[in-house]
């Protein structure tokens, strides 16, 4: 149990997918303009990432590993993620129109979000067990949402700042992300492996 809690904390704060592994940078730059949309994107990613790591774990260990066809790993993982996103989208649209209104437009974008595939691949390379993988997927999503929302909060404030023209937009966002990454380095002693 303690292990799982530590895994959660370390995945959210120390090994943050965005700030340490550079995963999910595209939505991070694209959707971090507004706090509201950042929240929607974060929730959608957390949801899909948890499902994706769970499903990928099962497929990796019960199918790919068993039949010795690990070379199909990337093809299978990306198909799993793409179909998962499709199914989740159809499911949410049918059963919860309210949730669909909130998350709908972010769902199709998630297939090409490298954080999802990244999380699935890291899960394999770190040899996580089943429960650990589920927690890893969930906390990876939480970490992504946390950073996305912090960033959105900062960028909403930055709108009123007087910024040199060349730095406006992506350049400033990247530098802000850099400073945020430096701050997160401070968490690195929190949990020792």
């Amino acid at each position: 149990m303690t292990n799982l809690v530590l895994l959660f904390i370390s995945t959210v704060l120390i090994n943050n997918l965005v700030l340490v592994n550079f995963l999910g940078i595209c939505p991070f730059l694209g959707v971090s303009g507004k706090l509201e949309s950042a929240f929607g994107m974060g929730a959608a990613v957390t949801f899909v990432m948890t499902l994706a790591t769970t499903l990928s774990w099962l497929i990796y260990h019960l199918v790919l590993d068993k039949f010795d066809i690990l070379f199909l790993q990337y093809v299978v993982f990306i198909l799993v993620i793409a179909s998962l996103v499709q199914i989740v989208e159809m499911f949410v649209r049918k059963f919860s129109p309210a949730l669909y209104q909130a998350l709908g437009i972010y769902l199709p974008l998630i297939t090409t979000n490298c954080a999802i595939l990244g999380a699935a691949l890291f899960m394999v390379s770190k040899n996580y067990g089943f429960l650990e993988s589920v927690i890893f997927g969930f906390s990876g999503g939480v970490g992504f949402s946390l950073v996305l929302m912090i960033m959105a909060g900062i960028r909403e404030e930055l709108k009123f700042a007087d910024i040199p023209k060349a730095f406006q937009g992506a350049a400033l966002t990247l530098i802000t992300a850099g400073l945020l990454a430096l701050i997160f380095v401070g968490f690195s002693g929190l949990v020792s492996a």
């Binding site: 730095f167 530098i175 850099g178 990454a181």
Partner: protein, 192 residues
Amino acid sequence: MNKIIKGLWAEHPIFRQLLGMCPTLAVTTTAVNGISMGCAVIFVLTFSSLVVSLIKKIVPNQVRIAVYTVIIATFVTVVDIVFKAYFPAISKSLGPYIPLIVVNCIILGRCEAFASKHDVKSSLIDALSMGLGFTWGLLVLSSIREVLGFGTIFGLTVMPKGYDPLVVMILPAGAFITLGFLVAIMAKLEKR
């Protein structure tokens, strides 16, 4: 001619379109890594564009993205296997960022926006142009980070002996900040 210049400058995938950020930031700790990643992307991009352009007429519209993704994932696996077999050291230092080329938006983006609508020859030119543009972007970023962060370039010491490497350049923060400045410089150059 314009078609070739496009990817190298005017529509540069990294500095102008901000595509493929994840490998751009993650693997550019040393110049060798930057070049290797660039080559891997050129390979995958060229072959995926070629195949997509060849089969564009027989793929039904509804499943085209799925088909393109499978094709890309296949070529990425080939790169991964080849690196593991013939360049094990590079394969280890690029780690999970080779498989992550699958979701590199440059590749799916070019297949969808260009190769699926053009003939084989222009698709190949487009892929090479974008791939080379991506590679020189990686090379610039990784050279800056390697020189400041390790005091070396391609493993050769270039900084004077007393130089104390700026470890922050190797850390994720250094990647973000350096890229931020490069994007700003490119924006400034554009306006002239």
